[in-house]
Amino acid sequence: MSEQLDLLAQMGRDFAASQDIEATMARALSRIATLVGAEGGALFLLDNAAENLVCHASHGPVDILGLSVGADQGIVGRSVAGNVSEMVRDVSLDQSFQNSLDQQSGFTTKSILCAPMVVRGAAQEEERIGAIELVNKADAQGLFADDDLKFLEVLAASAALAIHNARMSRQLAEKEVMRRELERAAEIQRGLLPPPGDANFPVSGVNRPARVVSGDFFDHFTLFDGRIAFTLADVSGKGMNAALLMAKSASLFRCLGKEDLRPGRLLQRINAEVCETSMRGMFVTMVAGVYDPVTGRVVMANAGHEPPLLHKEDGTFEALEAGSPPVGIPIELTGGGPVPEDVLYLDGGSLYIFTDGVTEGYIADKQELGVDGLQTMIVEGLKAGLNGTDRIDRVAECLTKSDEPLRDDITILVIDDGANAKARCGQKQARTEEEQQTDQPLIGSLCKLSLPARPQSLILVRRAVEASAHLSGFSKEQTQDIVLAVDEACQNVVRHAYVGDLDGDMVVEVQRENGDYRILIRDFAPPVDESNIKPRDLNDVRPGGLGVHFIREVMDAMDYLPPPDGQGNLLRLKKSIPHNAVK
């Protein structure tokens, strides 16, 4: 008896401590078989589908590890299904006995004991784990007695509990690992969002996921000329799938946006990428745009997203409807063209972009916030003197504090032109019709040439620069000077950037922004050491080294900027357009 109690105690400890349930079961079976005095035995577990009983431990002369029988077949099946122990004292007298195994193995089964392993849950529900079967009493006759069965029942019950507990703790451990991974994913996601700027920064956003990870995102980054690119997007669905597409779309925005920031075309390119490597049936509603703090001008494109709200200085609201279907709808259906752009002047007002998780979010008593509710909260926030960041934080707080869990992710982006408008001293410049249109050559990028960095390319650059300088209003002499300066700058690339056989490209972009004419020259060669670039001393009449001098004489500014992606060099030349010539 004490042996048996020892076994029970030991079995319990063994299972609790063990990482390897299978090995523990094998040991337990051996001990049980030995203690009851059986020649052989097997431990069966019900599989996940509860369709088969599979042998997970085998003891004795015949090894049936891995053997699978139907969940209701044979003595073991009967035992498990009925949650009763079975004894076939003498198999030669039992019909349901399958002697097929005996024929295969050469072992002669005489007597069988089988006890089910079942645990009862808190609500008295039964969980069938399996059964332990023992064969052939190890004495002269080889037949079991009733005591043997009773003994086996007790042991099987303990084994059941031990196995159940071991499974539970393993599941808990797995859940814990998954939970930690999910939290890690959420942390990475938060890292993809832009860090909060200082209190006076005009663009800010807030994001609260409904679950651990979010399918919404927002982003903004500042271009070298002070304009701020922004985006807000809502990926269909929730959870991990949505989060993955979110990460992809967010990266595309940053990466492609730094190359070419016309919002309509940017969304078109993002759409092409997402459709090409499509995550079936998933799409993204997306708003992308650029805000110029100097003028308060916003150029924006909306692909299928909830209309952003413009809150004007006079207090009225205007909704800006989407111009195109969402990103990710197959191009065969949408045509795949650029998304139409809106141009608007904030004039001291604020632009709010948000996901439908906001307007459909609950505030209290299962009431949706709605567009009206959002507008009210915005007005209240302004009255209370809150800045943009605080106004949207307040809305997010209101939605997350309600009794109901969040229906959907909440994301809001605000562009607050208030401070910048004051800095403009309230002067509303007379805007020409042309300025209010999009994609006009007068503002923004006039041209962008990608050419091989070799001498033959220079004449092409000169022609393009000459035409665009003239278009921008420079006099003939000024134009010639600019052409010379740009030629010299490109010569630097041709001569020095790609040493030896390296055949590289250079990209020359001409930009016009209000009163400035700018040329950007980009190469992809190893970074230039600025201290090596010095104009020649002109009192020393020697050939060579004149180029930099020409550039500095002609242009207002010559700067090396951090190149996008850190690759190569980016040189910027700037010259102010004379006022009376501004077209």
């Binding site: 001498p455 220079l458 030629d487 002109l538």
Partner: protein, 110 residues
């Protein structure tokens, strides 16, 4: 970019036309040096030069100094607005001897 040279007496006149930039200036450099090797007096006619950059200017400077080291003359003639502007930017307009026409340049040599 085209280079034409002719002789007027013992003066070599070399006329450059078109755009002198990094891709074409090596030819100018070679032509100028050849002229200097072949004659005591060289006049460069720049009337048809639509564009000249620092590499073109450098070729002129190199030829000028080469001639000077040999005790030969090297002058410029018919320098239009465009090339003159570039020479002014480089502050070389006072270094070169510049004449209004080729005839004046040749006459000055006598």
């Amino acid at each position: 970019m085209e280079i034409n040279s002719s002789e007027q007496g013992n003066v070599k006149v070399i006329a450059i036309s078109g755009e002198v930039d990094l891709s074409t200036s090596p030819r100018v450099r070679d032509a100028l040096l050849e002229c200097i090797l072949g004659s005591q007096a060289v006049v460069v006619d720049l009337s048809q030069v639509a564009y000249i950059d620092s590499s073109g200017v450098a070729s002129l400077v190199e030829a000028f100094q080469n001639a000077k080291s040999r005790g030969q003359t090297f002058t410029l003639a018919n320098v239009g607005e465009t090339p003159l502007r570039v020479l002014k930017l480089a502050r070389l307009d006072q270094v070169f001897v510049i004449h209004g026409t080729v005839e004046e340049a040749i006459a000055a040599l006598a």
